[in-house]
Amino acid sequence: MSANLFPVHYSEDAQKVEGGTGCVAQGGGIDSLEIDDSLRIPVLALFGNAVHWLIVAALISMVLSLKLVIPDFLGGIGFLNYGRLAPVARDLFLYGWASQLALATGLWLASRLSGRPIGGVIHSTLLICAIVLWNLAVLLGSLAILAGYSTGVEWLEYPNWASGALFVAFLLIALRSLLLFDCRINDRAEVAQWYLVAGFCSFPWVYGTANLLLTWKPVQASAQGPIHAWFSGSFLALWLLPIALAALYALIPRLLGEHLHRRSLAPLGFWSLLMLGGWNGISRLLGGPVPSWMGAAGVVSSVLFLIPVIIIAINIFGISPSSSDDETSIGKSIPERFLFLGAYALVTLGVLMAICGWPSIGGVLGFTGVVEARTQLWLLGAVSFPLFGVLYQAVPHLLGRECWNQAFSELHYWLSLVGFWLLIGMLLLGGLFTGLALNDPTISFLNITSYDFPFHVMEWVAQLILLAAAIMLGFNLTRALAVEQLFPKR
């Protein structure tokens, strides 16, 4: 744990540093203890809840994969049917895990980067109420889906009362984080801070619009396809990804003790991501029942999405660890490895999106495992891995002591790495085979299903590994929180 991870006079840009002192050499942050004290309960509550939803989501995903191998597994029971479990797993992952961890990350980074505590008792109480509301909505919404009250709209399956509660809870948490930007102590905002503001602004916009027009007061179904595609693209690219990127931009230079590489490119990366993020979702409607210009816009935005991805890659991978650091410690810490893993997943995603955006390729690979691989590259890769990094970095700061069991952390990292790439590889390969076979009308659909079988088996193995990884993280976090008292005297 580095005590001076958030120094007072930090600059991302090598040219801006006066006195040539480097960026992590400047003592502890302002009111560091006060900030950690104010953050401890809400952020740990968000972390804890997110991790337990991750375990439940991983368990259900594993069962779902097994159901594709053995269709009769847990068969004949309404609430355990594939069609009911699948949306529960999706939504638990999206709202229980990813969004909740993004909220925790946003809150922690907003406060630490601004150098301000989140405030007094009123703010803390409000945050705790919002966290309780959020988790109740996730729990009851998921139970409602199991009981057969799903709306049937992908990623918006929760009944209206649950999605409404999520919306309100989000506003309560996000507003606090946004206000922290305005009262920050650094005059020149960091790149990470722009991404935080963008992420926190986009959730209410994206989630509110989509729920209003698709579930609360649905528009005529002929208009729902594009609106839903816009939602699914924007939710990933404008809400979850910016928070994950904030983690990359804030933590990687600090952990490496260096400045961002070519920071002058970062604004272009930021604005191009925001611009294209809203458009790239419609690439999934390639050839679908929408005006043809929408399909074309989807193609263009999928290919252009490489621009922000390349800029982010330059900013992040261009950072060379400062020579003064101990060589052996570089690239070794768990947070750093998770953050870089996320960056690699993002680059893979950018390339895959550009390839699949191409009409002749997208037409073959549409509706296959490749589409699922793309979603998993977003959610598990580009979003979850950087957020894992934050989790590993933030908890020791919040507890004021080293708390991770190194062996469990290592195991979690390696299981996640192997499970993730195995899953992506199998989905891509399986998707490629099925896509080519679907394109040949002489091959019957049932035959194609049998082609997919070995890949489903391997996907199940990957999901099993990912479940083991999630349990390992849960165990590690529980141990970290329980081993000593929660509020150590300092």
Binding site: P218, G287, P289
Partner: protein, 215 residues
């Protein structure tokens, strides 16, 4: 970009582009499409469907069918395989979804496309058997059984007309029969109503009706 209002204004304007281009355009243009009158058929298209099918659409949503089944025949400029496979006689267009309350376009085809399942499989009994025990009519299918939409009850006098005729590999206790619940009947009514074989001005010509169904 260092003051919150400036940053928020920039973000707002950038977000607005895709919001206006996709969301507002769709809601105002696609959302206002109306049925078209067809003089040859003496009706408006797309056809309206009955109460059972409307209730069945809700069952389709609640059971999460959209997780594995799409409902769209893609444009031939992108791929002609959807039509060649017999999933439809023309590509789907936005107006096809007018009668639905939710557009189940789908995102993954673990099962077949259902845009025209009512044409491929017009027999309600086949659907009951398929829903109760998919492998009874579709050897090797990965579809799960929807037994919870059926009830097993004692035969009172005569067998019910809608009782399932299952093979010996799906034994039912002697003196008992398997009958579909109201949800199963509504769902099947909805599936049978899924047929987009009518002409629409923007949809292009109809190809020949789908060939004999393949699994």
């Amino acid at each position: 970009m260092h003051r919150l209002p400036t940053l928020l204004c920039g973000i707002f304007l950038v977000f607005l582009t895709s919001w206006v281009g996709i969301v507002a355009y769709s809601a105002l243009h696609l959302g206002r499409l109306a049925p078209v009158a067809n003089a040859d058929l003496g009706t408006t298209l797309p056809p309206v469907y009955g109460g059972e099918a409307v209730a069945g659409e809700q069952v389709y949503a609640n059971e999460g069918c959209v997780s594995c089944h799409s409902q769209q025949v893609r444009q031939t400029s992108v791929t002609s395989s959807d039509i060649e496979r017999g999933w439809g006689s023309r590509p789907s267009v936005a107006r096809d979804y007018l009668r639905d309350s939710t557009a189940f376009l789908g995102f993954r085809r673990l099962g077949q496309d259902l845009s025209n399942v009512g044409i491929r499989r017009p027999d309600a009994l086949w659907h009951y058997n398929h829903l109760y025990a998919p492998s009874s009519v579709c050897e090797g299918s990965v579809m799960p059984s929807f037994q919870h939409l059926f009830s097993v009850r004692k035969i009172q006098g005569q067998r019910s007309a809608d009782a399932l005729m299952l093979g010996s590999e799906f034994p039912v206790k002697p003196g008992y029969e398997v009958v579909p619940s109201a949800d199963a009947k509504n769902l099947v009514a909805y599936l049978l109503s899924l047929r987009h074989d009518y002409p629409l001005p923007e949809a292009g010509p109809l190809k020949d009706a789908p060939a004999t169904p393949t699994h």
